[in-house]
């Protein structure tokens, strides 16, 4: 029972980080039809920037506040000058461009900060462990478990009730129609891309005290978040949430109970879901 609770919380905290990066990925895909290979690198960049701010000013909160907007600005430039000329071309070329950006960023990070792993300490208030049912548990992970659903609810409310959210959903459904009724779709694309990047970098900054910061962290999470987005249904919000939870749980419980095949579990799940529901759990009928 004790092991079960620890597994549950570990799975939830990893799942929440996956969720943050996956919603950005799925929103960008849903609205723009672009699959962003570099999304994991933006996540990683968020973690590194947060680490850098911690070094400079010694405050995790400053890193959390200032890092993600820098990544968002970079991504806005990326969308405006590199991605925008490709919308009229085959989707493969958009994927290839973001693949190139990913190689560039991953190695760029290695060039600036070196190949070593770095440790970021959680802020004072979230440091240490807490007693839960006679078991000690890191406070920071609990913080992630609580924060994830809050962010999810905030985003859901944004998409459901605000004017901007409705415009976004309208443009995702029918770009041409949205343009006809006066939505400035190109500008909106840029905003969506920047917003998705901000979410990814926020996830990265939050992940910095949760795991070690290293040049491989982007590569690991991009594969898992691709799987999250596909099994949840591409472009689907609740899908990303469910997918991230499932993958987080597979990760934690798999490591405990099936250590030999744990690494293969996400791919097996991917195959099963695609066989039974080709458009994902929340993707509607194909």
């Amino acid at each position: 029972m004790e092991g079960f609770l620890a597994n549950l919380l570990n799975g939830l905290s990893w799942g929440m980080l996956l969720f943050l990066i996956s919603i950005g990925l799925t929103t960008i895909f849903g609205v723009m039809g672009v699959l962003n290979f570099a999304h994991g690198s933006l996540f990683m960049l968020g973690a590194y920037l947060c680490m850098q701010f911690v070094r400079w000013v010694g405050s995790f909160w400053i890193g959390l506040l200032l890092g993600p907007p820098i990544v968002a600005v970079l991504s806005i430039l990326l969308e405006r000058f590199l991605l925008r000329p490709l919308y009229s071309r085959d989707v493969s070329f958009q994927l290839l461009l973001t693949f190139g950006v990913m190689l560039f960023l991953d190695d760029g990070v290695r060039l600036i900060w070196g190949a070593a792993y770095h440790v970021v300490n959680p802020p004072q208030i979230l440091a240490g462990v807490i007693q839960l049912f006679s078991q000690s548990y890191p406070v920071y992970r609990l913080f992630l478990v609580i924060l994830g659903p809050l962010v999810g609810i905030a985003l859901w409310a944004f998409f459901s009730f605000t004017r901007w959210g409705k415009i976004l959903r309208a443009a995702a459904m029918d770009r041409q129609m949205a343009e006809i009724v006066g939505v400035r779709v190109p500008m909106m694309y840029t905003a969506v891309f920047g917003f998705g990047a901000w979410l990814a970098a926020l996830g990265g900054a939050l992940a910095a005290p949760h795991q070690s910061v290293g040049p491989a962290m982007g590569e690991r999470i991009i594969i898992e978040s691709f799987i999250v987005v596909v099994i949840g249904g591409m472009g689907s919000f609740p899908g990303a949430f469910a997918g991230a939870l499932i993958l987080g749980m597979l990760n934690s419980f798999g490591t405990t109970f099936l250590p030999d095949v744990q690494m293969a579990l996400p791919y097996i799940l991917l195959a099963v879901i695609l066989l039974t529901r080709p458009r994902g759990l929340f993707g509607g009928e194909a």
């Binding site: 590199l82 490709l86 989707v91 493969s92 190695d107 996400p266 080709p278």
Partner: protein, 322 residues
Amino acid sequence: MNSLLRGHVLPASLILLALMAAPLFLSMYGVIVLTEILTMSLFALSFNLLFGYTGLLSFGQAGFFGAGSYFAVLTLIHGPDSLWAAMAAAFIGSAVLAVVIGWFCVRLDEIYFAILTLGFGMMLFTIAHNWRSVTGGSDGLGNFTLPELNLFGWGVNLFNPINFYFLVLLITALGALLLFRVVNSPFGLLLRGTRENSLRVSFVGANVRAVRLFAFILAGALAGLAGALFAFFNRIASPEMLHWSFSGKAVLMTILGGSGVYLGPAVGAAIFFVLEHVITAYTTNWMIFLGGILVVLVLAFPKGVLGSLLGLLTRRWKGPKP
């Protein structure tokens, strides 16, 4: 043989002759580099059957490449001590894998196909990485000796790099010929048809999934064969060969050379190696250049180096279009 093929016999023979004569002019190091380029050319050509001709961007081609290397090495360790048997095992084994994986993947296209192939490629990587008792885990399988190649009863010693070069040239040329015949056959036309408009192809009565699956199997089998050669070359089969970053190499080579020209990926493989050697002489961070080059190519030269050059030449010869 139709007229389309006839026009290609002369350039193909010239290229083949030049490659056969190359060891006369190259240093031993040059021969070794050319061997690796040829191996990777076969890998990139197999990828381009899917990408350039069928319109399917696969990010899991290294899965078959690496699986082929393991099949070949496992045959050498546990099975008959014959290179032909090892290569046959790589070809057939990868083809069988491609039947199973392709059956899932060809149901979807575009971005879904890219993610699915990425996922299945990584699944194969995980198997190679974790199934220690069979694959040797992260160390890979290196404890094998390369037997002599039985050429009509005559044993060829492959520890001589020049002999090994000719083996790789033979296999790559045969693979390239097979691919060339396929893409210029009526079936190849069907492949390009599904790339342009799969709906219309199905309207004329073709089974789009079956067409794509066949291309997937052929690409997988040839990638496996290239993987076998690569394992012989490096004397090891290791999990990195199945990793998606290795699949990315095939993608990069193809984009570099040009996906629209038959030999584009091979030219891309050569450029890739030259660039890698030149840049890594100055810095270890060569991926940053590679990423930058890919971005520039995608934006400004989507036809790749060979494609852009050929386009320039034809415009010269035929004059500007009216």
